[in-house]
Every structure is written in C-alpha cells, then in structure tokens.
Symmetry: C2
C-alpha cells in the first residue's frame, strides 16, 4: 500500500458564518485550487448572496452538503448551539475562536479548532500567508487533515491545546485591543494640540518592530522607566480624568517592573 | 544680490551628548557630505572615544569650536544647566527633547528645538529618512537654518511650538511606552502558557499598520468593544493582580467610549 504517506490532494470544506473571519476565510479558500469550498451557510442569506456565483450558498442547515471539514465561524456565544445541529459521523467540525474550548462543540462529529490569530476588518485585505493558524483536534488523523488545510493558506501553523489557546487569546487582547486604546488616547491628545496623528506613525511602527529583536522587557523606555517623576507628574496634570487614571496605573506598573533595578 | 534665496551648502554642527539620540544623530550627520560635524562634546570622554578618527572630540566646554548650530542632546534635567554654559552670540543652540520647552535653554545664543520623534536604542539601526523632526526657533532665519539641516536627514519636517511638542511627547508616551507595557504583559502571559511570543507578532504588526487606513476609534475590536462580559469576566480570573487592574481599567475605558452606541 502506498497510502501511508498519502497527502489528500483536494480537501472539501463547508464554511458556516458570514462575519469578518468567515468572509476572509471564504475568499482565501476560493482562491486555492487544492481546496474545494463546497458550500457557505449563513443564517441570513443576504450576507452571503455575493458568493452565489463562486460556490453553493444556503441558510438551511438541512441542506448542508457533504464535506471533510465544517468550519463554524460565528460569534463565540453562538458556537455551541450551531454545532449541536451539525452531526455527521466521521466528519470533522471545527470552530475558529480563540476564546472557546474545543469541548464546547456539542456535536457527535469529530471536533477540532482552526483559530486564525489575526484581527480582521471587512474592508482591509490581509496577507494570509503570515497569519499564525492554531490547530487542535481530538485525534492524530484529524490534526493531520487540519494541518494540511492550514498549510495550504499559511506558512505558520501551530498545534495549541484549548488552555493554551485561551491564554493566547487573552494575550492578544493586550497586544491588540488594549494597544489600540493607547493609539486612541494618543490620537485624542494630538487632536487637542492641533497636531496631526500621522506624525506618530513612524514611532508606532518602530515600537511594534523593535520587539522582533529585543524582548518587551528590554525595549521599555520613557519617563516612567527612568523614574523621571518631574515629567510624569507634569503629564498627569495635562490629562483628562480617565486618561490620567490609565497613565497613573501604567506608570506604576513600569515602576514596579523596573523599580528595584534603578 | 543673489543671496536672497541662497541655500547654505554646508552646515557646521557641534553635538553635545553621548546618549542614544546623540549617538544616532552623530552617526547620521557624519554620513552626510553637506553637513560638517565639527565636534562632539561629552562630559565623559570615554563614551565618545570611538569618534576620534571621524571628528574632533572633547570633554571641555572651554574647547568648543565655532559652528552654526550647537545641538544639546542630553537628559532632560541636564539641558538647562548645560545650555547656560554655551553662550555664543549670533549662534544657534538647540535641544532634542520632546518634554522640555525652548525657553528652558538658558543661553544668550539664539534658541531652538530639534526634536526627533522616534524611540532610539543604541543597538538598533533606524531609518532616519522616515523620522519626523519637529522644529522650533525664535526667528524665521533660525527656523530656516534648522529646516535645512532637518531636511538633509529626514523627509518629514514639522514646525511645532513648545506647547504642541509637550502634548506630542505625552501622546508618544501612550503609543510607545505604554504600548510596550501591553507587549510585556502579552509576553508574560505567553510564558505562563508555554506558547512562543513570536506567534503574536503578525497581530502586533497588523494592529500598528491598520491605523494607517482607519482611525483608532474605528479600529477597536475585542470582547470589551462587543460588551462580551462573559469573556471579560473569565479573563479577569486568569490574570495576576496587577495585570487584572490594567485589564479592568482598559475594559472600562473601551466600554465608556463605545457603551452608548451598543
């Protein structure tokens, strides 16, 4: 038998969902000749109507077609309920969420996770090849199938269990959502000074790029790092109350991290 | 007379300081054929010894040579004191600090500011051409001279007064220093999960790049933005006490910004 190392040449996939992740994933799978996007399901058919010339679309779960992998890409709190209605023996049902455990899939199908660690906006194109895809499955065979699918669209594939993924998702909240809060405050301060926010963009990119070479611990600079209380106290007087709360807490955090070494 | 639009072809500069900014600025000015770096001064001569084959070096203020511009690039709290010892009539003395006002230069020379809006580490090379340089001077002639110098090394030159610069510097603390705190916490969380921090880097770069196209206000995503209290409450139980304080405050901040529109 030569099938031991047989790489499945065509993978049949159904996507369930019409949000940002589903949208980008659909576009990506349609581009790939070795993936057969059999069907896209969404509760509201209008949202996926634009796909009707590219693949089969439906808003009825009873019409779901046969596939190797069913990818559920809906909001976190709808995953369990939707998965409970997809019960195909010997088939694989996965979700794409960072914050939901694999066991929260309530299906008799095999279970897995296909988590794309990136922030998607509908309008903005992303380069899939650089997106880390974090996989989990109940058995080796399914993990292999997911790995094959993932490596067709990305160069970075990781095997991550539910507990690790939950922490990774939490870390992502800090480096993505909370970083954006800092950008927002910087933007607001620029507005009050009548200075274009654009002026900060090279600094923003350098801050993000720097940690490619050194750890965030090593990369820390600024008045709090230098324990320059004259500057931090002046800054506090310049801020609105909610900005000041954040400034004070983060300055304290930097002091705590580096305080003893000054 | 043809001197009205005369562009000074060679600008003579003395740099005072041996820190990160002084180091990178020195390297950059030495590279440029239309700038004559006459001399580098530093209190400790050892720190600038490596420059002795490229320019004149000294640790004695009494030995300062003649130049058009004296650039003071020392720590914020040393600027006033050092500037009070540089008193050359009709010459221009500038500092490179974001947080210090022009009037804090205590010299009889003309005063100005040459603020490089970037985060410098000694080991890491930076592309000067993209660094915004923020200028201030007491008169048009000096502003023109500073603009000429700045545009020889960067493509982005701004005229910014002391009050604007102070706010810009404060905004930079948020988008640089405080963003790095978020990276640090993300790094710490990855460590506890035994997941490589590298996995977050594409997300970090995308977060920084996204605001080139949309405002931070529009770019906000995540559980706090969706008011997904089930997730935010679970996250809080997963964090150390000081991480949790930050999580709670920033979640509240996002809720306050978007709350009414949900």
């Amino acid at each position: 038998m030569v099938q031991f190392n047989y790489i499945r040449s065509m993978i049949n996939v159904v996507i369930l969902g019409g949000g940002n992740v589903a949208h980008h994933l659909t576009t990506q799978l349609l581009k790939n000749d070795t993936i057969n996007l059999v069907q896209v399901y969404n509760r509201s058919i209008e949202k996926i109507q634009h796909l009707k010339n590219s693949t089969s679309i439906t808003n009825k779960l009873s019409e779901l077609k046969d596939a190797d992998i069913y990818i559920i890409s809906v909001s976190d709190n709808a995953i369990s309920s939707l998965s409970s209605k997809i019960n195909f023996k010997e088939k694989l049902v996965v979700h794409t969420s960072g914050g939901v455990a694999m066991k929260d899939l309530l299906t008799i199908s095999n279970k897995g996770v296909f988590y794309l660690l990136q922030s998607f906006s509908k309008e903005r194109e992303v380069n899939f090849s650089t997106i880390p895809i974090c996989l989990e499955a109940e058995n080796e065979k399914d993990l292999k199938l997911l790995s094959q699918l993932a490596s067709k669209i990305s160069n970075t594939v990781h095997i991550i269990n539910s507990e690790q993924r939950e922490k990774l998702h939490l870390a992502a909240v800090f480096v993505n959502n909370f970083v954006n809060v800092m950008y927002k405050i910087g933007h607001d301060i620029c507005n009050t000074a009548n200075v274009p926010f654009e002026i900060l963009k090279p600094l923003i990119l350098e801050t993000a790029s720097k940690i490619d070479e050194i750890t965030p611990y090593e990369a820390q600079t600024g008045p709090a790092r230098r324990n320059d209380t004259k500057t931090t106290e002046k800054h506090e007087t310049m801020l609105l109350i909610n900005q000041r709360e954040i400034y004070t807490l983060l300055t304290k955090s930097i002091n705590n991290t580096y305080g003893e070494k000054l």
